[in-house]
Symmetry: C2
Subunit: 559 residues, 2 copies
């Protein structure tokens, strides 16, 4: 490859998720007839997506270019980076690369979906460079985040070097001693970075994110004060946090029990793989906690977000099988509520407090730190890498925008900063970067075991049903005699409590009867028209009477 | 009345709202055959109360004691203190007492409900003492809060003095110059306060709440920087905030337009009554903003909570009739999101930013302060009033609990602190306070124009309908021949998009048919049993197939 050709060579960067939103991170890098992908995450639905369990990225573009795809390269084991793999590998079975803990977590997912044996998982470690196809060398660089074994990725391509930070923070005193490899960043910066893609989650926060180790100090202070059981709720995937809770427990001679399915599952993976070190005999079964004095017990549990079915919520409501709150219990919520979860978390705090627990949460003590870099850390990374072009990733629009402003504030030319939306194609060559069209991108909704079968019509109907309920009107009509043989029967759900509303139901039946009879008298025999009439008349009556808009569902049977 | 009798006299304090919750504040004070009430507020529903518009307190106890009730005494004009009046005055028409602005806001509510002429509104001012019945003297004491003209109330009763702070903060530099009357608190403290009831909203926050005036300084800095339109979103009732925005606008030679129905309504009341001073010619119609250069315009708008139909949300979505975002617009969100509103507020910020606005919000600049006292202010009030007994009010349980701990920390005996729930009766005499039973208390849900006709069954149904939709199964059966004459017809809403799911619907029809035929063959002619069969079989089929649980609604017509 001569220099001349190299100069003309272009790489396409196509984010299919994670821009303008939090979650479902997935970015496509396409060079000629080869594609590599960084991350494959899911997102959790907003409340308006009624009944939806998960959201994954729409990969129509990858399906169309199936033969080009060389593999998924995963930065770390959080759901928003690995959670879509079980769904997407079913459609696009290519090799997956990740560090030991990341693969451990992916494995247990694929196992649940019963596709582990069909998939190719490839272990890498920070520092490794993987040769893929003819055009990509994928380099893994140690980074820090709220889950162990996280990496950034440097893609070495004919067009130049692209660095994707993944989720990151800078922690000079990480729990596992594995500090982000800033030296490698500096080397790459010297070599010349064509494009930087960097985490924007905390770009609107000034200063620095504190080290995970500071949480350990706060926990230690609480352990010193506690004279009953200590129950700590945190994210199951935050292995370093769990390690610190374990360390404090060992120091204060407490046994540790785990509560919550994902806590048990992830801790098992982490212990098996050596990411979580708990001395023999310290970890006990949850059912055995009664065998020890209260001040000899630590329980580590899920539910730090007030999730309705989680262990901590059940403890708070008094419906947990093995844990009942006792006076003197200290409950530490070592997390901050994700936007949207403040109310359920408040409810859990109130219920625990009512039951006599001393509840400690972030607003009261510094028992949580973020896993994402704030403004000054972001500036450091930009300064070391000195990229020619920059695309902020991982964040809502305001985060991306602010991240762009930070880059500008330390000297980057505004025309070299690209605020993209998912599906946008950024074409980058040594000399130039530009938006070059758009591919299909969006969200696929997962409801139960259904993937993508719930669309806007269904969601709109669910919203209407949920707000005001439904009135079903059933009429049997004799087509010959043009008379009502039976009905109208009125059946409602979610509208009014029927036993208290006999008169109202009677009025609705009367209106339905008149509406049908009027149609029959006028020789209207199109069902659709009769139905529309019923709908319109009942709708108007109810809105006038009670200012509500239930769904009206007329069913006409003719015999 | 001799001293001996006085010593035996007891007053009952019965909170019917505002404890263990935020909102619907209403407290009953009963002495022999007389009752006075402080505040009459509403609460806004959580998301799980699908379709519910408002919540008001259950006043069954007051209806039972109708003849005793002497009046409502209102501390300030926020919805959670006045919002239930239009509903409750319809059932219990007694005099209402409040300050000028408070009555102004109540008036406009009663007018909307068309009951203003039937109600007795009585104007009082801070410092007034109103004689009610034989046992109550009601004293109004100036206080500070995020709405002008707020008062605390001291009830002088035969049992002793009860002080209810209402919502409060301590502001030494309030915008209207009316500082909380700490001197009167000190005098009452000297005289002897029997019971203190005090605002707990910010009890878990350390330190002091900043003065409203600091917001003016932050706004001034932003006005200096802005070279386009300034659009400020804030609570319509925060007259002092609006005054400060107006002051900055006048200083920087900007005209002011108001956007949002409640903003227009409340500002009109406040201007008419002299609480908001805007020089002639500064206030312009929203439709006239185009007549001025952008840097001569300030728009004050509702929607600081991201409410779906509010003016700011419509501006963000580009659907506002008179305001389209232009590059260079500065949008200031002068409020913090109430728990539960973080996501909609984020969406509004993102949408405004995408349209080119420079959005300034609390996380970035100090453009909002709370209206409630933090820990150190709370301590000051306790120290001045030196109450014998104490009941924390206005807050979730964790706030009440913390407020109790603060009282203890400055020397109050724990046994004199009462953490109550709504409906609890606290009986207080000069010597003693104790819980003495419970009265009916709870919430009445308002949906459209219906008051209290939506109960738990209806809400549960709405939740199910909203999550997974409904499948209606209609069958017509001939009772004589025991055969299906027509159907089963399957109609669904909010379940799957029918056009894509013909096969599924066919399967459901098949299952319903078999289920009915099996019943008919076995001579089962109880409709309820046939219905249960249909429900069970379809339910099982769908759960196995798609892990969903739609509502199944069988309707059987027999002819």
């Amino acid at each position: 490859m001569t220099n001349k050709i190299k100069n003309r060579s272009r790489i396409k960067v196509i984010p299919l998720g994670g821009l303008g939103e939090i979650g479902k991170n997935l970015t496509v890098f396409e060079y000629e007839d080869e594609i590599v992908i960084i991350d494959c995450g899911l997102a959790f639905p907003d409340e308006e997506l009624l009944g939806i369990d998960l959201i994954i990225p729409d990969i129509a573009y990858l399906q169309k270019n199936k033969d080009k795809v060389k593999g998924f390269f995963i930065t770390h084991g959080h759901e928003d980076h690995i959670g879509a793999l079980p769904y997407i590998l079913k459609q696009l079975n290519v090799p997956v690369y990740g560090t030991k803990l990341t693969l451990g977590l992916i494995e247990s997912k694929l196992e649940e979906h019963k596709i582990l044996n069909d998939c190719s998982l490839n272990l890498i470690k920070a520092g490794d460079i993987v040769d893929i196809g003819n055009n990509f060398k994928v380099e893994f660089i140690r980074t820090n985040h709220s889950i162990a074994d996280s990496v950034s990725i440097a893609l070495h391509t004919p067009a130049g070097i692209i660095v994707h930070t993944g989720d990151f923070k800078i922690d000079f005193t990480p729990i596992d001693g594995e500090t982000i490899d800033l030296n490698r960043y500096a080397q790459l910066g010297k070599k010349g970075v064509l494009l930087l893609m960097a985490d924007s989650t905390n770009a609107t926060r000034k200063g620095y994110t504190m080290s995970e180790r500071t949480v350990g100090e706060a926990l230690e202070n609480l352990f010193l004060k506690a004279d009953g059981r200590i129950i700590v709720a945190t994210f199951a995937s935050n292995i370093h946090r769990i390690q610190q809770i374990a360390n404090a427990s060992v120091k204060h001679n407490r046994k540790i029990a785990l509560s919550g399915r994902s806590m048990e599952k992830i801790c098992k993976v982490a212990v098996d793989l050596g990411y979580l070190t708990i001395p023999d005999g310290v970890l006990i079964e949850l059912n055995d906690i009664k065998k020890y004095a209260n001040d000899r017990i630590t329980i580590i549990t899920t539910g730090s977000q007030g999730e309705p079915m989680s262990a901590l919520t059940r403890i708070a409501l008094g419906t947990h099988k093995s844990i009942q709150i006792e006076k003197g219990d200290m409950v530490i919520i070592s997390a901050t509520p994700i936007p949207g979860n403040q109310k359920p978390v408040s409810n859990v705090i109130n219920d625990l407090t009512k039951k006599g627990a001393n509840v400690v949460y972030k607003a009261i003590e510094d028992i949580h730190v973020s896993g994402h870099a704030c403004e000054e850390e972001i500036k450091l990374v930009h300064t070391l890498l000195k990229p020619k072009f920059f695309m902020p990733v991982h964040g809502e629009y305001r985060h991306l925008k602010r991240h762009g402003e930070i880059a500008e504030s330390i000297g980057m030319d505004k025309s070299n900063i690209f605020l993209l939306e998912i599906g946008d194609v950024l074409e980058v060559s040594r000399k130039k970067a530009q938006k070059a069209g758009k591919v299909i991108a969006g969200r696929i909704l997962i409801d139960g075991s259904g993937v993508g079968d719930v669309g806007n019509v269904v969601l709109r109907d669910r919203k209407n049903l949920g707000e005001d309920g439904i009135i079903t009107v059933v009429v049997v009509i004799d087509k010959e005699s043009k008379t009502i043989i039976s009905g109208p029967d009125i059946v409602t759900r979610g509208f009014v409590y029927v036993r208290d509303s006999e008169k109202l139901i009677k009025e609705i039946r009367q209106i339905a009867t008149e509406s049908v009879e009027k149609c029959l008298d006028n020789n209207v025999m199109q069902w659709s028209e009769i139905k529309n009439n019923i709908r319109r008349e009942i709708d108007g009556f109810i809105y006038r009477k009670m200012k509500r808009k239930p769904t009206i569902l007329p069913v006409i049977t003719e015999i």
